[in-house]
Symmetry: C2
Subunit: 285 residues, 2 copies
């Protein structure tokens, strides 16, 4: 396992951690200021959301690279199925391809897929997972042509109804197996998978298909399943054990901190948040 106690160059920021204050409209920090703040603190990478890039993706990507900060990925595809997805296959696929284009434009090697919930009019997850598989398969040629790999991210089962009928690494790998493309892999987020005793076996199965590893913590008394994620060390996830399993499977990439925390971390000064992350990354991850 890598030693992070004196080296946090493997640390990446997902900008959601700063409360989506990062934007180009003057509210909060600009993408460039966020990049510079990461560079000053020795972060190795950054992951933006589409809404933050708008029409400036190429310029923001260039700014990051010039600052020595890798653009590790882009969040994210539209929901591909379920009640929150764009209406109709054509609308889903158009926005799916647009998200791939933006990943290429900002220079992100990986685009995260959040699949969406149970398709309206159906029951259970089986039919929805079938649709997800079809839609990912249909987008892969475009992703390959753009040089972007797609990472399926299983979300916590609490979101299975509306945000992700795909809830385990096992399900994600089943889709990868069914499609069988070198441009398709998985993203592993502590928040979503920490409870799963099947995870070590599935990580070993995943191997080089692990395209991202996301850090935060699960607070024992979580008050809001969307916006009450914990800072690493404040919760009950076995962070060192999880990283050992992820690295044991062969992953040696960036570790991306993604903390949605409306009532705590989002209310703090972004600089304080970035500093805290560095300390926690070096000590408890």
């Amino acid at each position: 396992m890598r030693d992070f106690t004196k080296d946090h160059s493997a640390l990446a920021l997902n900008t959601a951690t700063l409360g989506h204050n990062v934007d180009g409209a003057g509210a909060g920090w600009s993408p460039e200021r966020t990049i510079d703040a990461c560079a000053e603190r020795g972060y190795g990478g950054i992951v933006f959301w589409r809404r933050e890039l708008g029409a400036r993706a190429a310029a923001i990507g260039a700014h990051a690279r010039a600052a020595g900060v890798a653009v590790a990925g882009l969040c994210r595809t539209p929901f591909l199925v379920g009640p929150l997805a764009p209406v109709g296959t054509q609308a889903v696929m158009d926005d799916f391809r647009a998200s791939i284009d933006m990943a290429a434009e900002v220079g992100a090697p990986v685009l995260t897929i959040v699949v969406g919930g149970v398709e309206p009019g159906t029951k259970g997850v089986a039919r929805s997972l079938g649709l997800v598989t079809d839609r990912i398969a249909a987008a892969l040629d475009h992703a390959a042509a753009q040089g972007v790999r797609l990472a399926i991210e299983p979300l916590h089962p609490v979101y299975a109804g509306d945000r992700s009928c795909l809830t385990t690494l096992r399900d994600a790998l089943d889709i990868c197996d069914r499609i069988g493309s070198p441009h398709l892999g998985v993203a592993v987020d502590v928040y979503h998978v920490w409870w799963d005793t099947d995870l070590p076996a599935q990580l070993a199965r995943a191997g080089e298909r692990i395209l991202g590893y996301h850090l935060c913590d699960w607070l024992a008394g979580t008050r809001d399943v969307l916006l009450d994620r914990g800072m690493m060390g404040d919760g009950v996830a076995d962070l060192k054990g999880l990283r050992a399993a992820v690295e044991g499977a062969g992953y040696d990439g960036l570790c991306e901190v993604e903390i949605f925390s409306a009532d705590n971390w989002w209310k703090r000064d972004p600089g304080e948040v970035l500093d805290t992350i560095v300390t926690r990354f070096r000590t408890v991850c």
Copy 2:
């Protein structure tokens, strides 16, 4: 699969569905009135909570049997580990045995185990699951002597921090295998397991160890993970598919409706709720 369209004698009420209005203190319906209301509507069984029985468990059990309503089970053991468990092994085991005694007293053949969350001072679920296994094993002789079987109920992973480090049927069966007692089995609740694509395989593995099947529904836009369960048919769980798998594994017992719904069903007249359950049971379960 059993045909419930014209016969709901397999239907049981978990009294939580009436908003814990069932008690002996005069607030809401008494246990006896609830039993009679179930009997009038042809319910085959009822499941009480310990707080509702107090010192009158034997009399309430006798009332149910006289009314032709089976006491299908009792909710529940204390949390065995985690932040909400009684403090100290002795306190846990004393209350565990007291819950077994009450199950015997009311005449319930099955006592549900909810295992509790991550043990304070530990990370991840492994250590806690080990403690759970030890504590269940230590109570089994007492349960056997009292003629009560213990049913481990996996809870939804959203509760893994504070209420149940045990989140899948797979984990529950692993504990059953480790202990290997005919007095130990599992309870399967739609709310907790509907999202799990591994469930059909685990149900087949469970076979005759399935000691209870609990009904409700998962609302796609669940607003509160504790108190916003759906009535059968109002959510996205594949209820018929789940029952087919449960019965395919050999289960032919009661189907227990357990709906925590503070803002909807708990606000309605208990008689209306009981009638709605009968209709839904016959049509969508």
